[in-house]
Amino acid sequence: MRFGLTALVLTAAFGAGILAVLGASPLEAYRLIVIGAVGRPERVAFVLAAWAPILLCAAGLLFTFAAGLWNIGIEGQVIFGAVFATGALRALEHTGPPWITVLLAGLAAILGGGVWGLLAGALRAYGNVNEIFGGLGLNFIAGSLTVYLVLGPWARPGIASTSGTLPFPQTVWLPTLTIPPVAAPTEILLGVAAMGVAAAALRGTYFGLHLLAIGKSLRAAHLRGIPTTREVLRAFAACGGLAGLAGFVLVTGAYSRHQLFPLISGGNGFLAILVVLLAGYSAGAGILISGVFAAISMGSLQLPLAMQLDSSMGGVIQSALVLLIILLRGVQARVVHREGVSRSPL
């Protein structure tokens, strides 16, 4: 990836600067992050668990970014997926074999996220509401809904608290695959598969081709006979569905909290946006960068305890890296005097 090295160096330097301001040792902090991510087998498992939802969201975003759309509403779609999954699990908890319950919960999550995504798309297609603000508003509604559910109808019996619903029994957790010494959560396979399928769909199906055309020029795509409105709505639904699956994984994963709680989406959607901004349409790059970001996120959880540093340091590194790459790309385009405006961010 272009500028990867330069940007990494600059980011490390920027991060060091921030840490220096706080009187903390950059080397120590970076060391803790790395150890926090891969130091022990359990840590690796946590990283894999964090990797999966980012992958699923990034896979979904491939569709919307291809069409030149900014699906900021992805966080809400993750939440709705988690909500629908929780609903399904609660309804079917004591009926039938657990694996069917889990499967149906997964399907419900796809439906929930898909519908929420479709709503954002409809607002844009028919109401002319910018998908950024429509998506944001829907994020807020999803958030409010979750709070209501967690403290109201789905509250833990006895103590209604924002820490979440009653945790699901282990029977409905997603399984782990033991590759010694790591007990890897299987949802990582789901994530990788989703990325592969999404990238392949973009390149191999008419749906994907249409989206790419729409992203390059809506007018020309329309003139070529592409049903632009229909494909845009489908893109939102597809992204929402995959985001919903991320929500499913966040409540049923082996290393998750096994419950629905407010802020369940945890910024995975936004992080996935950063991933796709860097990786473009390449599945390989997307998988790799998601993994690195997941590692940074998990690793920085060690910082508060050991160094009194906020775990958002990981977020600083991630967003600084993406910002620097965007800026460097711009500098290069200026120096090379090439065509300037990037309509689609990718």
Partner: protein, 326 residues
């Protein structure tokens, strides 16, 4: 009237933020990082004020940080021709994360606060007095800022050039306006005002700092208010008061409906935002026109007129780069 006074007291941060973003967007630059920027400037303002034991230093620092981020947005968009949404979004996350990280030392600690300063004679004025003039200095400053921005945009020559540059940069250039320089200027000025908004949070309305701070999401609302306000400073200020009113009402509703969980109400003003946006942009959509055509002519005219009054049409050049002369 206590309600009104409370609304006025809590409004300055949002007023500064929407004023700042309005002038930036009027020149043609969107600063999507607002949500993170408010957090960063709040934290920075508080930390600086605490370190220097001076409110003025705090506010100046916050404004400087805001201007700096505004400059980054402008450079990325104008000099480097990168997508404004992408840059803004990434900056939003960066600013938020920086705020949390750099704010750790000053979380949950006491610091300087803007003192309550009732104005001697004016506060006795019946009805209006206690609401408007029994407030702190930042509130008075917010009144002044709103008036100043309005006056600047509509009554002065540079303000007219700003409006022109945002609407039709090509025509503005033809009349000798340096649109690019103007965009840099207002992106920074707008950022500085947003910074003042952040300082208004941590030094007055929501003193101190914590993680999470509690204003997360407010920046997005401010962006939406700018649209809802049709890029007009006074309409934006009205929108700001409306939002704060909704927030304050949420607390009131809370006490009236004790059986509903407390955490639900604070989140309610946010969904109302989509409804507002939907209303103002509805007039433009193709689908609306198709539906309207089925109405009888008289009704259609009335609906169209109402929609037009609500209509928000952005400064035409928002987000569009300028082409140089051949």
């Amino acid at each position: 009237m206590i309600l009104a006074a409370a609304v006025v007291a809590a409004s300055p941060p949002i007023i500064f933020a929407v004023l700042g973003e309005t002038i930036a967007e009027k020149s043609g630059v969107i600063n999507l990082s607002l949500d993170g920027l408010l957090l960063l400037t709040a934290m920075a303002g508080f930390a600086a004020a605490r370190a220097a034991d001076s409110l003025l230093v705090g506010m100046a620092t916050a404004m400087a940080v805001g201007a700096l981020v505004g400059l980054v947005v402008a450079v990325a968009s104008l000099a480097l021709r990168q997508n404004q949404v992408a840059t803004g979004f990434v900056l939003m996350l960066l600013c938020q994360n920086l705020a949390y990280v750099l704010g750790t030392p000053v979380a949950h600690v006491p610091g300087p606060q803007v003192p309550h300063s009732p104005i001697p004679l004016l506060q006795q004025v019946p009805i209006v007095g206690p609401v408007l003039f029994r407030q702190d200095a930042l509130v008075y400053l917010s009144f002044a800022a709103a008036a100043a921005v309005w006056w600047y945009v509509f009554k002065t020559r540079p303000g007219l050039m700003l409006r022109g540059a945002g609407e039709q940069p090509a025509a503005a250039v033809a009349r000798g306006v340096d649109v690019v320089r103007l965009r840099y200027l207002y992106a920074m000025a707008g950022g500085a005002l947003v910074g003042l908004g952040g300082a208004a949070f941590s030094l007055a309305v929501k003193p101190g700092w914590s993680r999470p701070y509690g204003i997360e999401g407010t920046g997005w609302i401010a962006l939406a208010i700018v649209i809802f306000g049709n890029w007009d400073p006074l309409r934006a200020v009205a929108g700001a008061y409306l939002f704060v009113l909704l927030q304050t009402l949420a607390t009131v509703l809370q006490s009236l409906m004790p059986h509903v969980p407390t955490q639900v109400f604070p989140t309610l003003p946010f969904p109302l935002m989509i409804l507002a946006l939907l209303l103002v942009t509805l007039g433009n959509s193709e689908w609306t026109h198709r539906v309207l055509r089925r109405l009888p002519a008289a009704a259609r005219r009335r609906v169209l007129r109402a929609l037009r009054a609500l209509e928000a049409s952005p400064p035409a050049a928002l987000g569009v780069p300028l082409e140089p002369r051949e």
